[in-house]
Structure formats: structure tokens, C-alpha cells
Symmetry: C2
Subunit: 141 residues, 2 copies
């Protein structure tokens, strides 16, 4: 899929974790909640409904893997999944670990307050943890 | 799935449209945006990650049908899809038609302002339209 490139806003707001069969798995740089995004490498896909059945099946498996990964490594009361695309017009699926005591609960995280970037060492620690999980569970390509 | 019953909050906030293979399709009674929910009839499922692969595949098809239905009948700039479950602990997938000029754009609809119920005739008109679409497209059981 040579015509695909990551939207600059997603590139600046998140960090690469792993390349899955359909999507790039990325960690959003916001320490308020463990927040993954899956960005299908499908040129010109702006929303979930743009994917065909085969692509949706791949994304479903990758969402499931991402949610399972969050549950395995972070205290989680609820996994939120969503594709909005109202701000960034490149399809990306959010998979977010929520706690009852997190600052936005029970509201959604999108548009809530200001991102709180990880400090460098914590960011690297999280990326390492997620990459290790992805490699162990066959989610890295 | 005899142990399943609709959560009272979902029952009061939305109106039945059709029974699909996995889920009940319902229209949220909020005239600010065309907003469907799919409620899988799976006992004790609180979040998307609770579904097994076969159930997720059914839900994927029903989400696609719901989004296609919204695009066919309402002016739509973006279809938002999400499973949150932070407020109502019974799995339900949102499929929402968004406009760039809608009151919450580009923010999410969840928790935004107060619902604006349809008047009775408009609600009935919308339900009839959606049921007719579902029946014509084989989405009604």
C-alpha cells in the first residue's frame, strides 16, 4: 500500500509500537490513560465504513489484541473502542483503558482537557512493554 | 439467549427498530443527530472485548449495515462508531451520523449537552424509515 502515509497530527500525538497486518499500532503520548490507536495502512481511508469486509476483519482482530494488551498490563475498568475521525481525517481506531477514577470518567477522553505527555523514561518503558507483548503474542510483523 | 434483557437506561433512551442476528437495533431518541445503537443480546456482556470472535464478526456486519443505513438516509459527513459502556454497563455499540455543523462537532456526542427528544410524529417517521430500510436490505429478523 505504497500511497499510504501517516497523518502528521497522528505522527506528532503518538509513538510507533508495532506494525500489525493491517495497521500501525501506536501509543498516544498522554499519560492520563493508557491509550492505543490502530491506523490501518489503507490509502484514503477516512472512516471505519470505508474499509471492506476483509480489512474490517483484520482490524477487528487487531482491536481485540490491543484491548487484551491493555487489560494485561494496566489496571482497567473498561476498554473504550471508537473510530471518530472528526478531527484527523485519516482512519484510526482508538482503544483506551479507562478507570472509574480517571479524570474524564464517565465521559469520553476525546477533547477532554489537555494531553499530559509522558516523561521520556516512562514513555520508553511503556513502549518497551507494549513491543515486548506484541512480539510475544505474534502481533508484531 | 434467555438470560438477556435490555438495560432500563437503554430502554428509556432509545426506541426499537429491528432485531438483527446478534443485536437489537435501536434509534436513540435525540433529534440532534441520527444515532443508532446496536445492543448484542449476549447475557452479561458489558464491553466489546467480552464478545468472542464469532459474535464480533456478527456485530461488525451489523455495524456496517447501520452505518450504511445512516449514510443512505441522512446527510452525513462522518460516521462515528464506538463502544464505551462507561455510563450503562451493558454492551452497546454506537453508530452516529455526524455533520460538520452539528452542535458538538468535532467533539464526541457522548455527554454533550442535553438530549433533544424527537416529537412523536418525527420519531415515528424515522422509525418507519429505518424499519423499511432494514426489511428491504434483509437486516430485520
Amino acid at each position: 500500500m505504497s500511497d499510504w502515509s501517516l497523518h502528521p497530527r497522528l505522527a506528532s500525538d503518538s509513538v510507533f509500537v508495532a506494525s500489525l497486518p493491517l495497521s500501525d499500532l501506536r501509543l498516544v503520548n498522554d499519560a492520563r490513560w493508557p491509550w492505543l490507536i490502530l491506523v490501518p495502512r489503507v490509502p484514503n481511508a477516512a472512516e471505519w465504513l470505508d474499509l471492506d469486509g476483509e480489512q474490517r476483519q483484520l482490524l477487528d482482530a487487531e482491536m481485540h489484541a490491543a484491548g487484551t494488551m491493555l487489560r494485561a498490563h494496566f489496571a482497567t475498568d473498561r476498554i473504550n473502542v471508537a473510530a471518530l475521525g472528526n478531527v484527523v481525517p485519516q482512519l484510526h481506531m482508538h482503544v483506551v483503558s479507562r478507570r472509574v477514577e480517571d479524570p474524564a470518567w464517565p465521559g469520553p477522553v476525546w477533547g477532554f482537557g489537555q494531553p499530559k505527555p509522558y516523561d521520556d523514561s516512562e514513555l520508553q518503558r511503556r513502549i518497551d512493554l507494549l513491543r515486548s507483548h506484541a512480539a510475544t503474542n505474534g502481533e508484531s510483523s
